[in-house]
C-alpha cells in the first residue's frame, strides 16, 4: 500500500513537473505592438483668403485674412497595447475683416473695404489635446479618451471625448461610436459704435461727426450669457468590400446650445435710416441667431486601390440642420505613385449649401425680425476646390534629426473658389519622424 502511495505521489509530482515544464515551453503568441515606436508629426500651413462680403461689416467689406499654423503631434507607445498622443498647436492670424470691429483708427477715413490697424486685426489661437487609447489583446476592441483645451483672445474652449471601436469578421468590419462635449465661452467684443448703447454705455457715439441720419440711437442689448456648449455623437461603419476596395459610412449628430451668434458681426436694417461716420456705415445691430442648433451629417468614403500606381479616394457628405441649411460635399483624390518614394495627389472637391433661414444680404433685414445675420458663410453658394500635393516617403528613414528618422514629407496646395467674390489658398506641409 505504501508502495502504491509512493508511486501515485511520484506520478503526481512528475505530472506537475511535466505540466510546469510544458507551460514554460509553450511558445508565446506573437503580439504586434499597436505602435512600434514613438512618432512625431510636424504640421504647418499658410492660409490666405479674400472676398467682399465681410460679416463684421454686415455683408459688405473686405474679407482679407492670413493665417499661419504650426502643430506638433507626438504619439508614444506606453506598452504593447496603449498609446498616448499629445497634440499641440498655435495659429496666428491677421484679419482685415475683424480689424473693422473698430474701423476708426485715424489713419484714413474708415471704410468697410479698408483694413483698420485696431487691436482686433490679429489674434493667436492655441490648442492642446491629449488622448489615450487602449487596444485589446486580439486588437478587436479599441477604447480611447481625450481632453482638449483651446484659447484665443475672445474665446475659450474645454473639450472631453471618448470612443469605442469593435472589429469583427476577421477585421473586415469595424463599428465605432464616439462622443464629444465642448464647454466653450465667449469674451464678447461688440462693434465700437454700439458699445456706448450697451450696459453702462454713454448713450451716444461721435454725435458731431455723424452724417445721414444724425439721430443715431440703435436699440442694442448685450448678450446675457456668453457660454456655448456642443454635444456630438458619431457612429461609424467601415467594411472591406474586396482585397482592393474598402468603404466607410459615418453619421455625426451635433447639438449646440448657448451663444451661437458672433458678437462683433454687424447687421443693417432696411427699415432704419442709415448713419455714417467718415465712410463707414454705423451698425443697426449685431447678428442675432437662435441659441440652439441641431446638425446632422451623413458621410461615406470609398477607396479603391486600382493598381500599384493609382489609387482612388472618394468622399461624399450630406448635411442638414434646423437653421434650414442643406449641403452636399463630394471630393475625389487620385494618388499616383511616380516611384517607390514619390507620390503626387491631384484632387477636386465640390461643395454647395442652401442659405440659413436667418440670412439676408446687406441692408435687407427688417428690424422687426427676431433672428438675423448677414454672414455669407451662412448664405447659399457653391464652391470648387482644386488641389495638388506630393509626398516623399523613405521607409528606411535614412535622414536623421537627433534620434528620430524622417519617414515622410507631405506638401499640398489647394485653391478654393466660391461662386461669390470669395476665394482662398492654403499650403500645407507635414514632416513625419519615427524614433529609432
Amino acid at each position: 500500500m505504501k508502495l502504491v502511495c509512493k508511486i501515485i505521489s511520484i506520478i503526481f509530482v512528475l505530472n506537475w513537473a511535466l505540466t510546469y515544464v510544458q507551460a514554460q515551453e509553450t511558445p508565446q503568441v506573437y503580439k504586434k505592438r499597436v505602435l512600434e515606436t514613438s512618432e512625431v508629426d510636424f504640421l504647418t500651413s499658410y492660409y490666405t483668403q479674400d472676398g467682399e462680403n465681410a460679416a463684421v461689416s454686415g455683408g459688405i467689406g473686405t474679407e482679407e485674412l492670413t493665417d499661419v499654423t504650426g502643430t506638433v503631434v507626438i504619439s508614444i507607445p506606453l506598452n504593447d497595447d496603449d498609446v498616448l498622443t499629445i497634440d499641440a498647436g498655435v495659429s496666428a492670424y491677421t484679419s482685415a475683416s475683424s480689424s473693422n470691429v473698430n474701423p476708426f483708427d485715424g489713419n484714413a477715413p474708415a471704410n468697410a473695404f479698408i483694413a483698420s490697424s485696431g487691436a482686433s486685426q490679429s489674434d493667436t489661437w492655441v490648442n492642446f489635446t491629449g488622448s489615450y487609447s487602449h487596444s485589446s489583446e486580439d486588437r478587436n476592441n479599441i477604447l480611447s479618451a481625450k481632453v482638449s483645451v483651446s484659447s484665443e483672445y475672445d474665446y475659450f474652449s474645454l473639450g472631453f471625448g471618448g470612443s469605442y471601436s469593435k472589429l469583427f469578421n476577421e477585421k473586415n468590419t469595424e463599428l465605432s461610436i464616439n462622443a464629444n462635449v465642448y464647454i466653450d465661452s465667449w469674451n464678447a467684443i461688440y462693434p465700437i459704435e454700439l458699445r456706448p448703447f450697451g450696459t453702462n454705455g454713454t448713450g451716444s457715439f461721435r454725435p458731431s461727426e455723424i452724417t445721414g441720419n444724425t439721430n443715431y440711437n440703435p436699440t442694442f442689448s448685450e448678450f446675457d450669457s456668453e457660454g456655448r456648449n456642443s454635444y456630438s455623437l458619431g457612429l461609424g461603419f467601415s467594411q472591406i468590400l474586396h482585397k482592393n476596395v474598402q468603404g466607410l459610412l459615418s453619421l455625426d449628430v451635433v447639438r449646440q446650445q448657448g451663444l451661437l451668434s458672433t458678437p462683433f458681426q454687424r447687421v443693417y436694417f432696411s427699415d432704419v435710416e442709415d448713419s455714417f461716420v467718415e465712410d463707414f456705415h454705423l451698425a443697426d445691430d449685431i447678428e442675432r441667431l437662435p441659441n440652439s442648433r441641431f446638425k446632422v451629417a451623413l458621410g461615406g468614403r470609398l477607396n479603391w486601390y486600382l493598381n500599384e500606381i493609382i489609387t482612388l479616394r472618394t468622399y461624399y457628405r450630406f448635411y442638414f440642420d434646423d437653421w434650414g441649411i442643406n449641403s452636399h460635399t463630394a471630393s475625389i483624390e487620385i494618388p499616383v505613385k511616380l516611384t517607390d518614394r514619390f507620390t503626387v495627389y491631384p484632387s477636386y472637391r465640390f461643395y454647395n449649401q442652401s442659405a440659413a433661414d436667418y440670412f439676408a444680404p446687406y441692408e435687407v433685414h427688417l428690424s422687426t425680425s427676431e433672428f438675423y445675420t448677414s454672414d455669407y458663410d451662412l448664405s447659399e453658394y457653391t464652391a470648387n476646390q482644386f488641389g495638388l500635393g506630393a509626398t516623399y516617403t523613405d521607409i528606411f528613414t535614412k535622414l536623421h534629426v537627433w534620434e528620430f528618422g524622417l519617414k515622410s514629407i507631405d506638401l499640398k496646395f489647394y485653391n478654393y473658389n466660391r461662386n461669390t467674390a470669395f476665394s482662398s489658398l492654403i499650403i500645407t506641409a507635414g514632416f513625419k519622424f519615427v524614433m529609432d
Binding site: D41, L43, S45, Q49, T69, T71, S148, D154, Y155, S157, G159, N169, E170, N172, N180, V181, Y182, W186, R228, N229, S230, S232, L235, F237, Q239, I240, K243, N244, Q246, L249, S250, L251, D252, V253, V254, K295, A297, L298, N303, Y305, T311, R313, Y315, R317, Y319, I325, S327, Y351, Q353, A356, D377, L378, A383, D410, K412, Y414, Y416, I426, T428, K432
Partner: protein, 70 residues
Amino acid sequence: MIKRFLPIFCIAFFVSNCVVVKEYQKVNLNDPDMVLSEKKCDRNVTIAHSYREAAVGANGGKTGGGCGCN
C-alpha cells in the same frame, strides 16, 4: 431621422457578411493612401472648411466647439 438612416446601416451590415478578405490578402488595403480618414497633413484644410462652411462632421474632423466657427 433614425428611420431615415437605419436602412442604410442595415444594408451595410448585411453587405459586411458577404466578403472576408484574409490578413495576408490585405497588403493593398494597408497602403497609406487607402486609409479611411483624412490624412494628417489635410487637417488644417478641414479646419479652414469648418470656419468658412456651414456643414461640418462625418469626415473625421471637428463637429463643433473649440473655436468661434460654426
